[in-house]
Amino acid sequence: MVIYGVALLAVCSLIGLLVGEALGALIGVKANVGGVGFAMILLLVATDWLAKRGRFKPVSASGVTFWSLMYIPIVVAMAAQQNVLGAIKGGPLAFLAGTIGVALSFALVPMLARIGRPQSTAVKAKEPSR
């Protein structure tokens, strides 16, 4: 049933976010540390485990894929509620502080990507399909 997929997704999300909150509290930070990341790993492990036992039927999976397809619309809705006015009102200081960091970060990406690349492409070439 489709609700099984949705429920599994919800449970994984809740546990992941909870772990993220706990980790934040543990290191004394007022933010969720890696909650979404933990939830993702949990979902991957859980769906894999269930699928291997034939317990994750295509109908259940559609409960997950529906929400992953809703991702772009949700992101558009998220964009529609950003404080764009606040960003503009910040003036040249906020504009420069925001953009210079982004420009430098973009420049860093290809450099940093090269670090892990040779080894990881080598592994990828040999890796059998899971």
Binding site: L9, M40, L44, I74, Q81, L85, K89, A94, A97, V109
Partner: protein
């Protein structure tokens, strides 16, 4: 009659949200197809359209939540709020390759630190150029250039003034918006077309909303990888900025 319609829209907020977003995406894909012949991706235009709506909504209501501050469009706020956003982001992990995620572990940690440091230093540099000299203001503005959450969290922890705090948040907002718009434009030139680079990108840029929207507009298949890395960025920033980075700033500019 108009009152009746108004009431119906207010009562069914989430449905209005679906309809509005569907409309924005429809128009965006039409424009992408006709005006740019698909060169500018429809979802990139849709994200931009969302930002335009946010600007219009913010101008009318004077609030902080863009179009969602208008009661009639409150449903857009629910649809794009943290709960459903996280829910959908987690869902995108389904079908991602666990092996690919594990492989990039160490470079991503490096990317997180490098990204936070580069953004922080840029923010501090700009603040210096604008005449700020005290460690608290410099750190707070630098932290804002990391993300718009790290900024106020840091400012509150080290006792920044509210106008510096507002600037810091604004810097973070600018960052998120620039990442949303620029990612699909620079994707090709930074080699953003594989899971490994997506994770490095997520770790370096880190702003959650920026990365998630930027990747969605570039290639939805890369979303889980980038977001997975970005999910640690704000937390790490909140950890580093008020502690190590603040101490470093205080050592550099004693007042």
């Amino acid at each position: 009659m108009i009152e009746l319609l108004h009431q119906a829209l207010l009562k069914n907020g989430l449905l209005v949200g679906f309809a509005v977003v569907g409309g924005v995406i429809g128009i965006s894909y039409f424009l992408s197809d006709r005006l740019t012949r698909g060169r500018l991706h429809g979802s990139a235009l849709a994200v931009f359209g969302g930002l335009v709506l946010a600007y219009v909504g913010g101008s009318i209501s004077g609030g902080k939540n863009g179009i969602a501050d208008l009661p009639m469009f409150a449903g857009v706020g629910l649809l794009g709020g943290a709960m459903l956003r996280d829910f959908a982001i987690v869902a995108t992990a389904y079908g991602a390759s666990f092996a690919d995620l594990k492989k990039s572990g160490l470079p991503v940690v490096l990317a997180l630190f490098a990204g936070i440091l580069v953004s922080f230093v840029s923010g501090v540099g700009v603040a210096l150029a604008f005449g700020y000299r005290d460690a608290v203001s410099l750190t707070t503005i630098g932290a804002g250039a990391v993300t718009y959450i790290v900024g106020p969290v840091t400012g509150a922890a080290i006792g920044a003034t509210s106008d510096v705090m507002a600037l810091s948040i604004a810097a973070g907002l600018v960052k998120a918006i620039v990442v949303m718009i620029a990612t699909p434009l620079v994707a090709k030139s930074i080699g953003l077309d594989n899971p490994h680079t997506a994770m490095i990108y997520g770790g370096t840029l880190g702003t959650n909303s920026g990365v998630s929207a930027g990747l969605a507009a570039t290639d939805p298949a890369l979303v889980p990888y980038g977001v997975m890395a970005a999910t640690f960025y704000t937390g790490l920033g909140c950890f580093l900025a008020p502690s190590v980075l603040f101490l470093a700033m205080r050592a550099l500019c004693p007042s």
